[in-house]
């Protein structure tokens, strides 16, 4: 019998209300070291990504947010109890540091879509383009144009990211910003915001969105700190053998 793990939390002794998790299984608190893990029983090898399961996962993680800020596991984390206990004791220090980092905070998201219709604008024709050129030279001229376009978009995306972060400076404890210069969804940001600064954060975000009517914004939150749970631990697992 496997366990589906939802999140790690400190300072929780018991679950006050019954919570339903994946496949309507009952969620319980597994204690190890001085931490609690919310788990439920799960007996298949794979977890289907369905509406019900995604919402159940999110609801379970959220259910502890009133008492303490948890470290959420990724959706689909299936382990046996021994693996779980080993994982926690091996990474105890990193987990404690992380829990401290996210304590009393929530995660707020900002996603930005930019208008891509301007991309089809071609760079002005210059001396590299003339009718007497061979195919190879024309190929390079075209590449040059593409590269210039890419560089311009990358600079714009970086500028956007800097603008966003600077505008929110002082209201956020941490940030995770991803930019994808070539794409419509050019920026996806997660901010770790202290609960006491939630109001000022929201006001500031509303203000800066109004400053940029050329951009399309999606704002969401508050979330448990999904984006601030995994980082270095995950980076290591991406490059290592385990």
């Amino acid at each position: 019998m496997k366990l589906y793990a939802y999140c790690l939390a400190s300072g929780i002794d018991t679950l006050y209300e019954p919570v339903q998790g994946i496949s309507a299984a009952r969620v319980r608190l597994l204690k190890t070291e001085d931490l609690g893990v919310l788990v439920s029983d799960f007996d298949a090898d794979t977890v289907p990504v369905t509406r019900e399961n995604a919402l159940a996962h999110a609801a379970v993680v959220r259910s502890v947010l009133d008492k303490t800020t948890p470290l959420p596991f990724r959706f689909g984390t299936l382990v046996n109890e021994l693996q779980l206990r080993n994982y926690i004791s091996t990474h105890k220090d990193a987990i404690d540091t992380k829990l401290k980092h996210v304590s009393e905070c929530v995660e707020m998201s900002v996603k930005i879509i930019r208008d891509v219709s301007a991309d089809s604008q071609r760079e002005p024709l210059e001396k590299y383009q003339d009718n007497e050129q061979g195919i190879g030279a024309m190929f390079l001229a075209e590449k040059r144009r593409e590269i210039i376009g890419d560089e311009r978009r990358a600079a714009q995306a970086a500028e956007l990211s800097a603008w966003l972060r600077e505008s929110l400076h002082g209201l956020i404890r941490d940030e995770q910003v991803t930019v994808r210069p070539g794409e419509k969804l050019v920026l996806s940001a997660a901010f770790l915001v202290e609960m006491v600064k939630f109001g000022p954060y929201r006001e500031k975000v509303a203000q800066i969105c109004a400053e940029r009517p050329d951009l399309h914004f999606l704002l969401s939150g508050p979330w448990p700190p999904y984006s601030f749970a995994g980082l270095e631990l995950e980076f290591k697992s991406q490059f290592g053998v385990s």
Partner: protein, 73 residues
């Protein structure tokens, strides 16, 4: 019992247009703590030999079909 390797499957019928669900998925699926799988040899996110994700993406009907088919094998 099952194979020692978990399987990941994406169905072409995955069609979701509920923004709130998609945004929730972006948080719970792409982020969060990861406990390494049972057998994991990976370079960045190219899994050469293993599978560590116990996640299957499909419509519920397909999921039921696949899971029950696997049980009879």
């Amino acid at each position: 019992m099952g194979t020692p390797f978990e399987q990941v499957m994406v169905s072409e019928e995955w069609e979701e247009t509920d923004l709130s669900l998609l945004e929730t998925l972006d948080h719970v699926l792409n982020r969060g703590l990861v406990i390494a799988g049972e057998i994991t040899i990976s370079v960045a996110d190219i899994d050469l030999i293993f599978l560590g994700l116990n996640v299957m993406v499909s419509s519920v009907e397909t999921a039921r079909e696949v899971l029950s088919k696997r049980e009879t094998e």
